[in-house]
Symmetry: C2
Subunit: 238 residues, 2 copies
């Protein structure tokens, strides 16, 4: 049977072997939610960058550029890291280049050895679940965290995914056990529970309650976000 | 008000500032349980070693030597890492030198900058809680994990401690929030829940069910384990 594991922070990723596995990267606040929202609203592809200047340089090549550091929009960028910016479809058909504090770094650390890399968010949870049910490979859920530290929202997404896929995978991984159970006991008041998280408070201080609410909404979109040759594209479930 | 934080793995400890804080190191299976059991049963002091040979050399100086690697007793040592070895009091008044896979490494990584270093276990949970209620410093709970990875038993101890001290500390730390809640929902069947953990299974394969059961027992002893000048000693609550 397929195996499932959860890595709780980029600082722990070297302890996991991603060879031949499907790796799903999650940064709920807000990179992975933004990526899924952008693709679901017609952005044609998203190229993630670790480096701010390399990302910025893509503007000359006709890309829309989105940049965030420490929760704020980076200077000189078209967009920050809000998923709401894409909802009106004004970037439909455009190519996006993006760099964020945690999420795009995590994408950068997963090499070619993974059999496939996905980007996961609560807003497309079921789409990802449906997709993964039909795969054969072991699964590694990779939480982007906050500057290397564990965070609540990414690990609870991992728990939600593990819970939804419970009959499709086995696990010997303690983080999977812990967060599947924590999700099961908190699923009915997930928004309230995560509102205590450090990152939620950080974002609340920046007056972006609407972003938080959006990122914690379940199943708004049916698109799966897939990394292919350095770009993230949408795969729509049949 | 005092602050509380939880570090889930030695690979994350560099992200925490231990200056001026009380650091409590936890390695439930089995180093910290063994240390507490040994002290509570009359061992006069315990010197932790990272290096196997350095620990072994202490035999010539009259120390009892305990050594464990990968769950098994290391070759040439008097004892392995079972807390049960100390229960008959046959090492009363002796000095012990100990090296283990995870726990003694964690002790080694905490420098002099902490205001105090304790060793915590379920078997002396309440003793530690009582002690900490009367301290002024912030608290950092440091989980030893398993070879760098997160584990369930250490993090649930952290959750138990945070829960017991809830009205004495505030927290902005997501791992504290997560494991305090997980402990609250699992406290009534803690042994069953932890029996699914990877390390429990690893130990079960070695036929040491009695060790597991002992390490998950609450409040057997009233001694607090305190690191002082490189040695761990018992402090009995008044």
């Amino acid at each position: 049977m397929k195996k499932i594991e959860v890595c709780l922070s980029p600082e722990l990723i070297h302890l996991y072997d991603s060879r031949g596995k499907i790796v799903i990267i999650v940064d709920i606040f807000r990179a992975s939610s933004t990526i899924v929202a952008a693709l679901a609203n017609g952005v044609s592809s998203i190229t993630p960058f670790k480096d701010l200047n390399a990302c910025k340089a893509m503007q000359e090549k006709g890309f829309i550029i989105a940049g965030e550091r420490d929760g704020k929009q980076a200077k000189g960028f078209d967009l920050g890291n809000s998923p709401l910016a894409y909802l009106k479809g004004i970037y439909k058909g455009k190519e996006l280049a993006i760099t964020t504090t945690n999420g795009t770094n995590a994408i950068d650390t997963i090499g070619e050895e993974a059999s496939q890399v996905l980007i996961g968010a609560f807003i497309n949870l079921n789409a990802t679940v449906s997709y993964l049910k039909n795969t054969k490979e072991d699964l590694l859920i990779y939480c982007a965290g906050w500057k290397g530290k564990f965070n609540l929202e990414d690990s609870l997404y991992a728990g939600a995914l593990a819970d939804s896929l419970d009959s499709y995978y086995v696990t010997e991984c303690d983080s999977t056990l812990a967060f599947r159970t924590l999700y099961q006991t908190q699923r009915k008041n997930l928004k309230d529970f995560i509102s205590n998280a450090s990152h939620t408070k950080r974002l609340q201080n920046q007056d972006i309650e609407k972003d938080i609410d959006f990122c914690l909404s379940l199943d708004l979109y049916n698109a799966v976000a897939l990394v292919e040759k350095g770009k993230i594209i949408a795969l729509r479930n049949a």
